[in-house]
């Protein structure tokens, strides 16, 4: 085999596909690729042919038919007259809601527990170890069922709050009523409502927009203030105190708006069978959220602990030598470096949490699996279509999360110059 630069390559012969190292790997790849494609096409063809034998053709028409069933948890208006497509979207939004909130709370729990597990306080460190080991080593479904059982069996039913001498009483200044169906909390009422913008069947209150605008303005002002403080610090070495001005920037306009709109809390009132007027936080959602948070939080705690331990002790000692206090050492020196180790496994925990949210069916929380993969699938009998669609949506969701986190990862990872 001539292998030096400039050598004329020998004429190509068919046997070289096997005996020549330069072509062999190509041959193997081509064979494997063709094999995989054949397998895939056989599987798809087989599936379609079998469906045809059963008299079922692949069709997504069912998505535009009337759904006819109700969904307990809905983020956008939905009635039984809407289509299966809208039911699917309602389910998807429920999945997103519990996943996003779950990821946030699991991260908070995970970071706190992970740091505390490394604490010098023996008791705290051991307690955290127990939490991590217990939650990490028992299947999530069991945790969901246990927490649901606790909520259903120990909380009073709403009518226990009824009568002269009720068996249960509301907590927190008669504002919150935990029941075995939901936790009734106060809703926010306005005595001077500014009206709503209609967006299809959904309405957005002007008050919400006003708050958003005010908070955004306060944030911009806050950044300008800090820039100015930094400029002064760079010039004179003395940083002017910004705390009180920043606080005022946020709080004063918010307080003014609140006063103007007449915002107040409306306590839940028992009306008929259930609490009304307030906001009913569905136990199904709370249970699922809690279980996902505690379960994934235990995994994240271990990831955080590993990340922190990967930062060499010399870094901490150097920070101490410079006079940084332990908390600032953690937040300025250790955590930023630990993030590089933490982020990649954290992504897979987020993905796990999102996929695990499909266990919602166990508590009757109507997520994507409950609507599209549950009732819709059942009422229409379109198993294949519903499953394919559901798998596609979960795949897309996971790829989006993964993509987003990878962007974040590339921003925190070690920059090589």
């Amino acid at each position: 085999m001539v292998d030096y630069p400039g050598a004329a390559s020998p004429p190509f012969r068919l046997s070289m596909l096997i005996y020549d190292r330069r072509y062999r790997s190509l041959t193997i790849q081509a064979v494997v690729f063709i094999g995989v494609m054949l397998l895939a096409s056989w599987l798809i063809d087989n599936t379609l042919r079998n469906l045809a034998i059963m008299g079922k053709t692949l069709s997504f028409d069912f998505l535009f038919r009337r759904a006819g069933y109700d969904i307990p948890q809905q983020l956008i208006p939905y009635t039984s007259d809407d289509t299966h497509l809208r039911a699917t979207i309602v389910g998807l939004l429920n999945t997103l809601q519990v996943s996003i909130l779950g990821c946030i709370s699991a991260t908070v729990v995970g970071v706190v527990v992970g740091v505390l597990r490394l604490s010098n306080n023996w008791l705290i460190a051991r307690l955290m170890t127990v939490y991590v080991e217990v939650f990490r080593n028992i299947p999530l479904l069991l945790w969901i069922l246990v927490i649901l059982a606790i909520f259903t069996e120990t909380m009073p039913p709403p009518n226990a709050y009824r009568g002269e001498n009720p068996a249960a009483s509301m907590v927190m200044f008669d504002m919150i009523a935990p029941t075995n169906r939901y936790t009734a909390v106060p809703s926010i009422g306005m005595s001077n409502p500014p009206g709503v913008i209609a967006l299809g069947r959904e309405g957005i209150s002007w008050a919400l927009i006003a708050y958003a605008v005010v908070l955004a303005a306060a944030y911009v002002a806050h950044r300008l203030l800090r820039k100015r403080a930094k400029r002064i610090q760079d010039a004179t070495g003395r940083r002017p105190s910004t705390l009180w001005i920043s606080l005022a920037l946020y709080l004063v306009p918010v307080a003014l708006l609140t006063w103007y709109f007449g915002l107040h809390l409306v306590p839940p009132v028992l009306k008929g069978f259930n609490f009304a007027e307030g906001l009913n936080l569905d136990n199904a959602f709370v249970v699922l959220w809690l279980a996902l948070t505690l379960y994934t939080g235990a995994f994240i705690a271990e990831i955080v602990r590993a990340g922190i331990m990967s930062v060499s002790k010399g870094q901490t000692e150097a920070a101490y030598a410079l006079g940084l206090r332990p908390r600032r050492t953690m937040s300025l020196v250790v955590l930023p470096q630990a993030l590089r180790v933490i982020i990649p496994p954290l992504i897979s925990q987020y993905l796990n949490l999102t996929k695990n949210s499909s266990l919602a069916i166990a508590v009757g929380y109507m997520d994507l699996r409950g609507t599209l993969g549950g009732t819709t699938l059942n009422q229409t009998g379109r198993e294949m279509e519903a499953m394919v669609l559901m798998m596609g949506i979960y795949l897309l969701l996971s790829l989006i999360i993964s993509g987003g986190m990878n962007v974040f990862n590339s921003r925190v990872k070690l920059k090589e110059r």
């Binding site: 599987l43 087989n46 599936t47 059963m54 006819g68 259930n274 136990n283 009732t375």
Partner: protein
């Protein structure tokens, strides 16, 4: 990695579909070769299908499985009971996991056509009702405005409930549950004010409570629920066997053939219809691909329709259902066997 997962899922789907192909053939031949009838039943509804203290399945639907097994295989015990939920039942049937679905399933247009099932008849005329605790002080379903209601997901009851509350301009909060056992648990913990399912199912559920007297079934029946066994669409011979087994049980009651007097009647009955039914004259079984005494064995297994009803869900049992619509047509009911000739 992601690709692997995708291929894996496609494989799984395709394998499920392959299973279906196997089931497409001649069900009768398959059941005979297997020696066992795979019968889809409820996961546990006392009176209709539930394992007793010894783990033996008993009940109204189970009795039908036994009758078919006796007719086809000659042995009422050659049944494998496959518990199915409201969600899994039709898939289990169309994928070939079960040969026959006897699981209080409502005969509807869409299930008969779009889901490619064949309902072979009605073995119980039912309607959807509500059960509440007595101390709730509710005496009519019209008073349930704003109530929290437990409902089995994937059932026709889910759709009826939505329609009923909409038609009466009332609101409700559904609690979706997966099986009757879970519904019972939620209802007992008062996590829902009312439990809704077919009235017969409510009676059966209530019978299993420790304090059945504290629960009432509201008078409103909000839907028609003709419950019947189903087979796959397309295997007409198998459908005929199941259908005529059901008619044999009904006809036996009509002509007074019981499990006690059947042997005697087979020899001595002068009624030509009974003779044909029991295989003493003509050979109707042959036309089904069975032997002459198929119906005799089916009736002997658990008795005629009336005997089965009385033994499993009738007024003498804890479930205590009256015959009502399910009486023979001669008694003012809807049960009407087609002629055996």
């Amino acid at each position: 990695m992601k690709k692997t997962a995708l291929f894996g899922s496609v494989t799984a789907l395709a394998l499920a579909a392959t299973g279906a192909m196997a089931a497409e053939g001649d069900t009768l031949k398959e059941v005979k070769a297997r020696g066992v009838l795979n019968c889809g039943v409820n996961t546990g509804l006392v009176g209709f299908a539930a394992p007793d203290a010894n783990g033996n399945w008993t009940g109204f639907d189970v009795a039908f499985c036994k009758a078919v097994a006796a007719a086809v295989l000659g042995d009422a015990t050659k049944v494998k009971y496959v518990p199915t939920t409201g969600q899994t039942r039709f898939t289990a049937l169309s994928s070939g996991e079960i040969d026959l679905l006897a699981r209080n399933s409502t005969w509807t247009f869409q299930r008969d056509t779009d889901l490619k099932l064949d309902f072979i008849g009605v073995n119980y005329y039912d309607g959807q009702g509500f059960m509440v605790r007595k101390d709730l002080g509710v005496s009519s379903a019209k008073e349930l405005d704003g109530a929290t209601i437990c409902i089995q997901t994937g059932t026709t009851t889910e759709l009826n409930l939505a329609d009923y509350f909409k038609a009466n301009n009332m609101t409700y909060q559904p609690v979706n549950i997966d099986s009757n056992a879970e519904g019972e648990q939620q209802y007992m913990a008062a996590a829902c004010d009312a439990y809704t399912t077919d009235a017969s199912g409510l009676a059966a559920t209530r019978a299993a409570f420790a304090d059945p007297e504290n629960h009432i079934i509201l008078p409103e029946i909000i839907s028609k629920e003709p419950l019947g066994p189903a087979v796959r669409h397309g295997d007409n011979n198998w459908g005929d066997i199941a259908r005529w087994t059901l008619y044999a049980l009904l006809a036996a009651e009509e002509y007074g053939v019981t499990s006690a007097n059947i042997d005697e009647l087979a020899k001595s009955s002068q009624n030509p219809e009974v003779q044909r039914l029991l295989g003493s004259s003509d050979d109707l079984g042959k036309m089904l691909g069975l032997d002459a005494e198929w119906a005799k064995r089916a009736i002997k297994a658990q008795g005629n329709y009336g005997e089965i009803f009385a033994a499993t869900i009738g007024e003498q049992t804890p479930i205590g259902l009256a015959r009502g619509l399910n009486a023979q047509w001669t008694q003012g009911g809807l049960m009407y066997a087609m002629p055996f000739r």
